[in-house]
């Protein structure tokens, strides 16, 4: 089966998964008690204003009508208007989504970088104290919830040593908005990004590290490693260019699951470090019954995971020449 058929078949599955995921979310959110007007009632919204706002949002229509409207709207790429902010969902969510992707992307990147390098070394120096120490450290890292790691890092690096800002994405007062580089490229931003990304990296490095180590153990037993050594190539070349390169394959398939965990974990890390990401926005939206924002946030989070699954499959085929498209 050629690459084209494989991609098409996977796309069809993708569409189905998105649709089912979507309907699940739609029903779920309509079950959350309360409606978008609840938060204004105590601040002076009169019952008439409330009725009128409910009607305006179309929440008084039967569920299936709302569902059909929503799907039509979505097919035209319009995520609708936020019930609370009254602005198009896209304008609000896109910036938040980027903030979360940059944060979690960096965290996962460091987690995989550490995972591959240290996992490979732990496999190479099997039986050494380094390996045993490495296993214990990774297991401890995996055993602590994100918020706990965050609190510890905050206490040590911010409140005690004062090396890093305590929260937010940039020092206040600077230029707002701007393009990607301008937002995420400045040193000031990197200083703010460091601790939250490190928190994520610590929690998510366990899976790639342990997986890398165990695949390394098998690969090192393979004949070709002995041949590469016999070829007189430098030790590090044999370790990384050959042994690690073969061991990294299973890590690709786990990437999608790790992304899922990262998407979930972002809610906690963003709360501890007041990071204006999509995780926290999603929680606010759920609490204030702002369905369009909550739906969009969930949709984007879910699609990142589904997409990563798709990318992982393609990457695996690219990385391992032995694999044909099953």
């Amino acid at each position: 089966m050629g690459l084209r058929e494989f991609v098409v078949r996977r796309l069809v599955q993708l569409v189905f998964t998105f649709w089912a995921f979507f309907t699940l979310l739609f029903v779920l959110f309509r079950l959350v008690p309360g409606d978008p007007t609840s938060m204004f009632l105590l601040d002076g919204m009169t019952p008439e204003q409330r009725e009128q706002r409910i009607a305006e949002l179309g929440l008084d229509q039967p569920l299936h009508v709302q569902y059909v409207n929503y799907i039509e709207q979505l097919l035209t790429g319009d995520f609708g208007q936020s019930f609370i902010y009254r602005e198009p969902v896209i304008d609000i969510i896109v910036v938040r989504f980027m903030n979360t992707i940059v944060l979690m992307g960096t965290a996962l990147f460091f987690a995989y970088l550490i995972g591959v390098t240290f996992g490979a070394l732990m496999g190479w120096w099997r039986g050494s104290r380094f390996e045993r120490g490495g296993i214990i450290v990774t297991l401890v890292a995996r055993s602590s919830p994100e918020f706990w790691v965050g609190i510890v890092l905050l206490s040590v690096f911010v409140f005690w040593l004062g090396w890093f800002p305590s929260s937010g994405m940039r020092t206040t007062g600077g230029e707002l908005g701007g393009g990607f580089i301008q937002r995420y490229g400045s040193i000031d931003f990197l200083r703010h990004l460091f601790l939250p990304a490190l928190t994520g990296a610590i929690v998510y490095l366990a899976t790639p590290t342990l997986l890398m180590r165990s695949t390394m153990l098998d690969v090192l037993k393979a004949d070709f490693v002995e041949i590469k050594k016999a070829e007189g190539l430098p030790e590090m070349t044999v370790l990384y260019k050959h042994a690690a390169r073969n061991s990294v394959l299973p890590l690709v398939t786990v990437m999608a699951i790790a992304t899922g965990a990262a998407m979930g974990g972002s809610v906690v890390i963003e709360t501890v470090f007041n990071w204006p990401g999509m995780g926290r926005e999603m929680v606010r939206a759920v609490n204030t019954n702002d369905y369009p924002i909550a739906m969009a946030a969930f949709f984007l989070m879910g699609s990142v995971v589904i997409l990563m699954n798709f990318v992982a499959d393609l990457a695996y085929v690219y990385l391992d020449p032995r694999v044909e498209y099953e």
Partner: protein, 556 residues
């Protein structure tokens, strides 16, 4: 929480206890031994046990203080024989279940004490008049007492403050006696600020450092000409035509001016108006002259036409037509504007002239009423002391001083940071990233602020309060004895002195003691007294079985 949650809670407690451990276990947390205490001899033949109380309260995440208060109150109610089912809920969900669905027995919430509510109208009329018992109305308990209604209607029509005061006093006495709600405490407190970085702070009644007056008087001393404020939630919109939550109103009023502003003392004072309104034919017509030196942020002059245009805009706006309903006719001549009312309305200056923001006609002119709420003015052009610079949601709102204003602020730039929660904002304050926090800190923070010589705390009193509303539409809460007994169980002193570590003042009336003029000091007091509570129940004919559970009397 769906209503089903009510019974499930009891099941969970049992399941949680026995379920996992597999043998009869009494789980930590639920009331262990109920000390007997002196139970007066209630009715001898007992009827049905009194229904259990579905008690709604905030989660610790929403408000840690009130969450603790709710659990202590629930324990005390159980001591005098009630069975209490405490549901801890998110703010929106609780408002929906209590205020909209009215599906509750008791609900612990608070009423904000914004300056607009210094005029007693809200606390006397809105919250207790029988007209407002509908779904979403402010009379959540569903209290209806014709005698009280008359008083509430009367006070609105009394332009003479002393006469009105008498009526308001009498209204407070009835409410205190009938306890449709337990009025617990005015949650005043302190707002922390960096004394080393800002001065001329002006914490006002009801709002502390979030008040308009503080924001224009606070002055940066660390040379960067910028004051940065933290608030624990994000602004929803700066469009004055949308329904505004508290954080929104705090900033909309910086960008737009009104004819009158509610001063630090809670009384309206001339702002765009040159002086007090001229009131004729016993309160039916108000004439106001406006200043001639006011311009909008884009340089256009603010004229009487803009004022007239604004009031007509409010009349057409679906959201705010109710606010200006009382006005029948408007006329303008030269720099004066005259309002003819349909009927006398005592709080007209404070509640209408002090609320309506003046819009630039050249921007809002051709927006038709339906789209008002969704209209987006990219620069939010108003005539207020601050002008809009830039805003990135959940990140930062930047305002700068409008120097041509007749009362310009003391800082060049004013920045607002929405925090994840108060603890995290305090962290930013201590790290020097923000200059003051518009939220009451936890006791642990107070001790830290005292030690830190960069930081101080600005005390302020509150005119709103935290209260428990009872649902008079359901038995047994229609019986005043039950409500009074329940009120005796609320530990008001412990709440202010221990749980809030001294921040705030205990109250027994719907009008806070800090609203000196309108507050009636000698209404009936309900302080923690379980025996008095039991006495109320015994006198009303209730009785207790030998487990101490409260029952209706056989004859009731």
């Amino acid at each position: 929480m769906s209503s089903g949650n009510h019974s499930r809670r009891k099941f969970i407690r049992a399941a949680g206890a026995a379920g996992a451990a597999g043998f009869a276990v009494s789980v930590a947390g639920c009331a262990d031994e109920t000390d007997e205490g002196t139970t007066p001899d209630g009715a001898d033949e007992l009827g049905e046990p009194v229904e259990s109380i579905q008690f709604l309260g905030p989660t610790a995440g929403v408000n840690a203080f009130r969450n603790e208060l709710a659990s202590v109150t629930a324990e005390n109610w159980e001591e005098i024989g009630f069975d209490v089912d405490l549901n801890e809920m998110e703010f929106g969900a609780q408002v929906d279940q209590a205020v909209v669905q009215q599906d509750f027995d008791a609900s612990l919430l608070g009423w904000g004490g914004t300056p607009e509510r210094i005029d007693p109208h809200t606390f006397i009329y809105d919250m207790h008049h029988s007209d407002n018992t509908g779904q979403g109305g402010r009379n959540t308990p569903g209290y209806s007492n014709p005698e009280y209604d008359d008083l509430a209607d009367l006070q609105v029509t009394q332009p003479d403050e002393n006469e009105r005061q008498e009526t308001v006093y009498e209204a407070q006495e009835i409410i205190a006696r009938e306890q449709p709600r337990t009025y617990i405490a005015n949650e005043g407190g302190v707002h922390p600020y960096a004394g080393s970085r800002v001065e001329n702070i002006d914490p006002t009644l009801g709002e502390g450092l979030n008040s308009f007056w503080n924001m224009i008087s606070v002055t940066p001393t660390d040379g960067d000409g910028t004051v940065t404020m933290g608030y624990p939630s994000e602004i929803i919109s700066l469009n004055p035509m949308q329904d505004l939550a508290t954080p929104d109103r705090q900033f909309v009023r910086l960008l737009y001016d009104q004819l009158f502003r509610i001063g630090p003392d809670g009384l309206p004072q001339p702002w765009l108006a040159t002086g007090e309104p001229v009131i004729e034919d016993d309160g039916m017509t108000y004439t106001v002259e406006i200043r001639d030196d006011v311009t909008f942020h884009d340089g256009e002059d603010l004229t009487i036409d803009d004022v007239e245009f604004t009031y007509e805009l409010y009349a057409d706006s679906p959201t705010y037509s109710g606010l200006v309903e009382v006005i029948d006719e408007i006329e303008t001549s030269g720099n004066e504007i005259t309002f003819r009312l349909g009927e006398p309305f005592a709080p007209f200056t404070a509640n209408v002239l002090g609320q309506v923001y003046v819009f630039p006609e050249h921007i809002w002119g051709d927006v038709d009423p339906e789209d008002l709420a969704d209209f987006e003015d990219p620069n939010w052009i108003g005539s207020g002391p601050f002008q809009f610079d830039d805003w990135e949601r959940q990140s930062e709102l930047q305002l700068s001083a409008f120097d041509d204003h007749f009362n310009p602020p003391n800082t060049d730039r004013f920045i607002r940071i929405p925090g994840a929660d108060v603890s995290q904002l305090i962290g930013d304050l201590e790290a020097g990233q923000i200059d003051f926090v518009g939220a009451v800190p936890q006791p642990a923070t107070l001790s830290r602020i005292e030690e830190d010589d960069d930081l101080d705390s600005a005390p302020f009193e509150d005119i709103g309060y935290v209260k428990i509303a009872y649902n008079l539409r359901r038995e047994p809460f229609d019986d005043v004895a039950i409500r009074r007994a329940l009120s005796y169980c609320v530990p008001k002193e412990e709440y202010v002195e221990f749980i809030r570590d001294g921040m705030g003042t205990v109250t027994d009336s719907t009008i806070s003691e800090h609203n000196e003029f309108w507050h009636n000091p000698d209404v009936e007091q309900f302080r923690l007294d379980l025996d008095a509570a039991r006495q109320e129940l015994a006198d009303a004919g209730y009785g207790w079985d030998d487990d101490g559970r409260l029952h209706y009397g056989a004859d009731q």
